[in-house]
Subunit: 536 residues, 2 copies
């Protein structure tokens, strides 16, 4: 059977950046673009070149992708030609293969927000998109407020679309900008647009989650004939977010009628990476992953109800709508950890530790991991700490040195110039080869700036480790992430530290404590121990 | 025009309790039941009496409600009569006006999980529900796995429903237990059930969010003719959660075709309490509220995109699908370094600060904001700090107290039992009304657990503020977020603190410093100052 192709257009880097509290650095945008490309989306919208420095910088730094990199902008303003609109020029100058321009299709917005005649807006749309096509780029038209516009004045809304189509636009994207249109209406209006002569294989759908229906509305548009879906990873986006590609991708691949009718650029291997990609984005954003997220959430296949859990043990399909492994997720049954052993052996092998199947140490180690993960440790994102924990449990961890005690003081007071200044000081006492060593460091850097208690502690700890000193000399802390793991202020703090050495190794370690300095210290210790293991 | 009545059936206390990490106390269940009753749901499912001690205790302690309290259980087992099934007896003994029994309608489950003949299962359904009716209770039948069962064997699935109906069951609830059925199919199968003779006004719908479509699937069932909707507050529930009543209620009241066609038990005044009810549940669960939640989330009406924010200032309806006040929520126009003066004036007005257009203070304040955002401050997620910054710049910020200095000590060493323990101690010196006050606190909580330096500092700071002390007594820190803003360890740390008070206010403040304790202290100071401003 011939399947029809559906196209996925990701806007995590543009609309996703409108999420309250989210702002990507250029390097983060590059990492996300690479992840999206591995996943197999067709288009990656990178931002609005010219609108802010990060977006412009991203297009210069962007990785080479199979997915088509797309710049976003708006149709030219009135009173100048497309060639002479400097906002549009900045968008074109990003040099992407595809350009998507937002333009108005709702007569109220043309009058109220732009304050121009309806015909002038149509002209602006046509000229802008023709300009893109003339430059040899693939053109997309983002029809802003289309559904509300269609309901207010269908003739005008369609006229705007036709103007774009006739200008040679590849994709006309029906955008439910305010997110208030319910799925049934999205389906009906999409069908009406197709009936009015805009071909379905030129139509895209862009929805928002303001009624918690963005995914269903996207599917309703596909049912009606649209062939491009726009969305974001983890449903990031302005207000309540955009249509969630992390949900749409598995639904399109695994659920009927979509699985039989359509094909998309995501293959089964990429689908198995979906949970990891979702977590990677949260990691970049320093967000706590949503446990109950569809398909990829930590609770998505957790069976708590007694009736369900016992049936699942007999036959997983009784209470699971899909096999969790297809999306790289895992079943969680509070009572049993048997499923974990082969998985655990694989992770140990990756760290160079061989354990026979059935070794009782495996069950012990699983219990320890589970207990510590309940306390807030996260071994998924801290492989070096996982290795150290496993080696300890298996009796394969050398004891390089022992920390006897430490003390950190943070003081903030007025200096002699009557300015408030702060300073931290750390004393660490370690025992190395039977010898006790006291080290002290302060948090002031070479520029006289206070770098805080964790910095002072890291410096004191690394100051004198006797025979091991030269082995950690090339080690550098490159990132430091802190998260409250149980909500509320009286909860535990999880610190993840990324370290690097001169040989280009990069490793992550974790510490958990209600005391943030203590959690940091634990992660620092693991980081040094892992480096010493590798230096042996 | 005659509207048809739709009934809302809340299962927060039963299915919601299957959420991973959630377990309610009896007192919490009572508080939630009261909130649900004020909201205006028709049924409150309280739990499964006999299945666990909390559920049984709740039915004894339950508040008197207008909503019909409902006990949940399962159809009688084979080999005994309904009268002699002790599991069913425990459910009946709760004495509720309504009883809902789950039973199987999927032939595979009857054979695989129950291991009984298909006819025997039908008999168990009929006898169990007849027993409830005979006792003068309202009977509901929860048809487990109905959609999957109907697809496998429609004749048998319908036979089960008919048996329940003929036994006098008030509501037959079509349950998509595994959550994998998409909205279109839910609608088609519901229509087929009605066509097969089960009246729509006897049909309920119970969906799960495993494909992020539980809300849309519930609406599809209503479109097809079902007249009872089951769901939970905030979409709590097993795995990915149940259909979210917090979303469905405003959609039914505010969106077409539902608003014109149907009436529900929730009135406009109750609708305005919706955001508060949602937050109250999160507070009971000690969960961080989901910012992007539809209708009630803190970001649901946050307009970050420059184009949107400027249009909103002219006319809110341009980028809002409903008026946020109808659901007790509020519009947020986050500050960002692109925002212009009119946006700023709007934000100031919201904080009760009037500034004339063109006032030079506006440009000054914009510069200050931009400079601080470059340092890592984020006023988009910390509106209370924005207000304080603005008031300072405009000379409208009272100086309640002055911090002269502080000192925090963190120590980790062996205790007398040779175990490593840590303890933090903070000394804060403030000047209030010309009087110098020294306060000291340690980080140990009432359970002997070390809560770390920020906790010690917060306690010392709040310990003695003289005349202001009683004004901050009801203040509580509810979340604490830390992020490194410039990458690398030598970078600045941004701390955002969310606080709450007894009046239900919630505010966010920000602090930035390379020293995490110092950044936290700055955010704490803003939090207290903002509370004092409001208490004036």
């Amino acid at each position: 059977m011939n399947k029809e192709r559906l196209y996925l257009y990701d806007t995590t880097l543009r609309d996703g950046q409108q999420t309250q509290g989210v702002s990507f650095s250029t390097a983060e945008k590059c990492r996300i673009a690479e992840a999206l490309d591995c996943l197999g989306v067709d288009y990656i919208e990178g931002g609005w070149p010219g609108a802010n420095p990060t977006d412009s910088a991203f297009f210069d730094a962007a990785p080479k992708t199979s997915a088509r990199l797309t710049a976003f902008g708006m149709t030219k303003r009135s009173g100048r030609s497309a060639e002479n609109d400097e906002v549009l020029a900045a968008v074109m100058n990003a040099g992407t293969g595809a350009v998507c321009l937002v333009g108005k299709t709702h007569e109220f917005h043309v009058r109220a927000a732009l304050g121009i005649a309806l015909e002038e807006n149509v002209e602006n749309i046509a000229r802008s998109l023709a300009h893109i096509v003339a430059q040899g780029r693939e053109a997309l038209f983002d029809a802003e407020h289309f559904f509300d516009g269609y309901k207010a004045n269908p003739g005008y809304a369609l006229e705007c679309l036709r103007a774009a189509l006739e200008a040679g636009t590849r994709w006309i994207v029906l955008c439910d900008t305010n997110g208030g249109t319910l799925p049934v209406e999205v389906g009906e209006i999409t069908a009406a647009v197709i009936a009015a002569g805009i071909p379905g294989d030129r139509l895209g759908i862009h929805t928002h989650n303001d009624t918690e229906s963005a995914v269903a509305a996207s599917l309703a548009a596909v049912d009606a004939g649209a062939r491009q879906i726009q969305g974001t990873l983890n449903g990031l986006g302005e207000r309540c977010g955009n249509a969630n590609l992390t949900t749409l991708i598995p639904t399109l691949l695994l659920k009927e009628p979509y699985a039989s009718r359509y094909e998309i650029g995501v293959d089964p291997a990429a689908l198995r990476s979906l949970s990891a990609v979702s977590r990677q984005l949260d990691e970049i954003l320093n967000r706590v992953p949503l446990r109950q997220a569809a398909y990829v959430g930590a609770s998505a296949f957790a069976h708590k109800a007694g009736l369900h859990a016992s049936a699942i043990l007999k036959e997983p399909s009784t209470y699971e709508h899909i096999d969790p492994e297809t999306v790289g997720n895992a079943r969680v049954i509070p009572m049993s950890n048997q499923a974990g052993q082969s998985n655990l052996r694989r992770r140990l092998a990756e760290a160079g530790i061989a354990v026979e199947p059935g070794d009782p140490a495996l069950a012990r180690l699983l219990d320890t991991i589970k207990e510590r993960e309940d306390q807030g440790y996260s071994y998924d994102s801290a492989q070096a700490s996982f290795e150290i924990l496993a080696r300890k449990e298996l009796g394969q961890m050398p004891r390089f040195f022992e920390v006897k005690r430490y003390k950190v003081t943070i003081e903030r007071r007025k200096n002699k110039y009557d300015r408030m200044v702060s300073l931290s000081e750390a004393v660490v006492v370690v025992k190395v080869d039977g010898e006790k060593k006291l080290s002290v460091s302060e948090s002031m850097d070479s520029e006289g700036c206070d770098r805080g208690p964790v910095n002072a502690l890291a410096k004191a700890l690394a100051k004198d480790l006797g025979p091991y000193q030269n082995k950690i000399a090339d080690m550098r802390l490159v990132d430091f992430k802190v998260r409250i793991t149980q909500g509320g202020t009286e909860a535990a703090t999880r610190v993840i530290i990324d370290s690097e050495d001169a040989e280009g190794r990069r490793w992550s370690t974790v510490g958990v404590s209600p005391n943030i300095v203590d959690a940091s210290f634990e992660a620092l210790l693991d980081a040094i121990n892992w480096k010493l293991l590798r230096a042996e």
